[in-house]
Symmetry: C2
Subunit: 371 residues, 2 copies
């Protein structure tokens, strides 16, 4: 006989989802209303405004896509890249590889720049790729690699793209709300993120923002966007129509209530204060881990505060430790992904998860398990 | 100053979302856990089992896709249809037209059968189309047209497809849980639905089921699925992996809690009992509307109980009436869609919305507004 699901609560210190606060869960559970209800249209306008704050952008086309971050990634690619376009894509982890896969599935030409997992994207290699290839339409890279914890220099990379008349498409799934990200100042043309990382909202939404130039490229496509669901020229009529909104699909109403609340919390804390909080707690974690003799995959200069890939000590059973942390402490940390499986753990300090209590718990628990 | 969103509750008698019960909203708001947590994997298994019950199928590949019904539609098309495939698609409303659009975007050849909006798909026309065209890969149609309220004879249509060695892809967005739908008995190969209609869950998920034959077609494709996010050969590794599940994307955890609860409620009521309830309340609505002199778009034989398109009486202002119902009674009914805009209203009796109280309210409110 199946019964109502009553999950044992966990402390979520993996690569996302992060812990969702009672306040956001409360917003989530408010009564469902219609997706064309004037009350809901007003909420959408506020979400747009709050996302502009979080992305530090004035981009008019700033929305929450009705699907997870991987759909946000795909939306950026399928709307802005057409078959046979030349695209430079940087691969320094799982998500760079996924971008490459997306670019190839639209029939574009992916010029791949590879870096060691754990390293940031090499600025020199990108400059060299632009020198070797003419008429590159876009530079595509991951700002904060969730699979490694490495942060790439998005500002410099975007500048190189601009000098070469290429647009930029940037994965900010793990950076948004957790560490510095300035869409307009850095000149990012298309950016996507996820609701369940440093925003600490429930999973299932992907904040996306397109610069006016990206919107222009979308509007002047030669071919139709291959995906109807992700066709942002249609989605715009629902999210950005003046006055009357045109129906495209039924928005995930309740998840958007939650996103609104989580963005309000970010705004109340202040974006830069949130970045500092993540940085401070990362330092706490790091000094505590150092005492346990645990090392990081990524070097200090490029280490994201919110996603910490740590090397599993020699002779330690990866799965056994994670299971023990989960069963005894209700504490989830993440496994390594792709080529780092079995080699690293990923400790997330994202959004509501990033507090003193959780860092203290993790350090105590890890000490118990490892010693 | 932006504030926490506190929506005025509405009675949702439009084409969906329907009202979500406090029990489902309570499930939605339970603490978020990880998408690879053993507790969550067990929940996914139960959801699969409950969806099999609702679809009346033994299909192993029965899942809830992490995006709304329109993404479920697209998933069926992009996974099972390849460029240059010949597909018969039936258009008798907005959603048939959307299917055609999806088929054309994958580069397949759409053989379009048109019927008047409000009529069911013509069995004779489908037979004729199969007689005229050889090597048709699939017959694609909408079982319950949400834009008109017409129900098509899915059983007969699937039988014709089978006789012609074609698979069937069926839109059951509005039928699932609200009126008879028997995936295995009728021989449907791929079916998709939405969470926010007769299941009365929050919007944002699309239940999907593929027959073993559909899975075989997916596995033997000549080309890659154009969409990475919707590639069900990858999604299978997360939803159907034996033991260890492989990460594809972060599932919308909390929405799946809600879906589980809404499916439990359907199972507790009993599927056939739910179908009867919708039918009975439709009869109540119909006799009440007859007293007001209001007529239906669809004739009795093909009228869906859960979606009632009624003709706006002469001289009545469409928007004014809907706004009045919303403002005075907090009662939402749907506008006409596409070519029926301004001509019909759509009154939904879906899932938790389908009760005596709501029918009585609507009749009283409409009487006040119209007389």
């Amino acid at each position: 006989m199946l019964e109502t699901f009553n999950p044992t609560p966990r402390i979520l210190m993996g690569p996302g989802p992060s812990n969702v606060s009672p306040r956001v869960l409360g917003a989530l559970a408010k009564p469902t209303i219609g997706h064309l209800d004037p009350q809901f249209i007003k909420l959408m306008d506020e979400i747009k405004q709050l996302l502009q704050y979080a992305f530090v952008t004035k981009n008019e086309f700033t929305i929450a896509l009705s699907a997870p971050g991987s759909a946000g990634m795909e939306a950026c690619i399928v709307n802005l890249i057409e078959p046979n376009d030349k695209v430079i894509v940087c691969v320094n982890g799982v998500f760079g590889g996924r971008l490459k896969e997306n670019i190839e599935r639209v029939g574009a030409q992916a010029i791949v720049i590879e870096d060691t997992w754990g390293d940031p994207v090499s600025v020199g290699k990108v400059e060299h790729a632009f020198a070797m290839h003419k008429n590159v339409k876009a530079l595509v890279f991951v700002h904060a690699e969730t699979s490694t914890g490495a942060c790439s220099d998005a500002k410099t990379l975007c500048n190189i793209a601009k000098q070469n008349d290429a647009i930029t498409i940037v994965d900010a799934v793990t950076s948004l709300g957790g560490s510095e990200l300035k869409v307009d100042e850095w000149g990012i043309d298309a950016v996507y993120s996820g609701s369940q990382k440093c925003l600490s909202c429930v999973p299932g939404l992907s904040p996306v923002s397109f610069s006016p130039k990206a919107v222009e490229i979308l509007k002047s496509r030669k071919t139709k966007v291959p995906s109807w669901f992700l066709d942002q020229s249609l989605v715009m009529g629902y999210w950005s129509g003046e006055g009357k909104r045109s129906y495209h699909h039924t928005a995930p109403i309740n998840s958007l209530y939650a996103l609104h609340e989580s963005l309000l919390m970010l705004k109340n804390e202040g974006l830069e204060q949130a970045w500092s909080r993540h940085a401070q707690l990362h330092q706490r974690l790091k000094s505590g881990l150092a005492e346990l003799g645990i090392r990081f995959l990524v070097n200090d200069a490029h280490q994201l505060p919110q996603l910490n890939s740590i090397l599993i000590p020699e002779g330690v059973d990866d799965a056994q430790v994670r299971t023990h942390l989960l069963n005894k402490f209700n504490l989830e940390i993440g496994a390594g992904l792709g080529q780092l499986a079995g080699k690293t753990w990923r400790v997330g300090l994202m959004g509501a998860t990033a507090n003193e209590q959780n860092v203290a718990l993790l350090l105590t628990a890890l000490k118990e398990v490892l010693v």
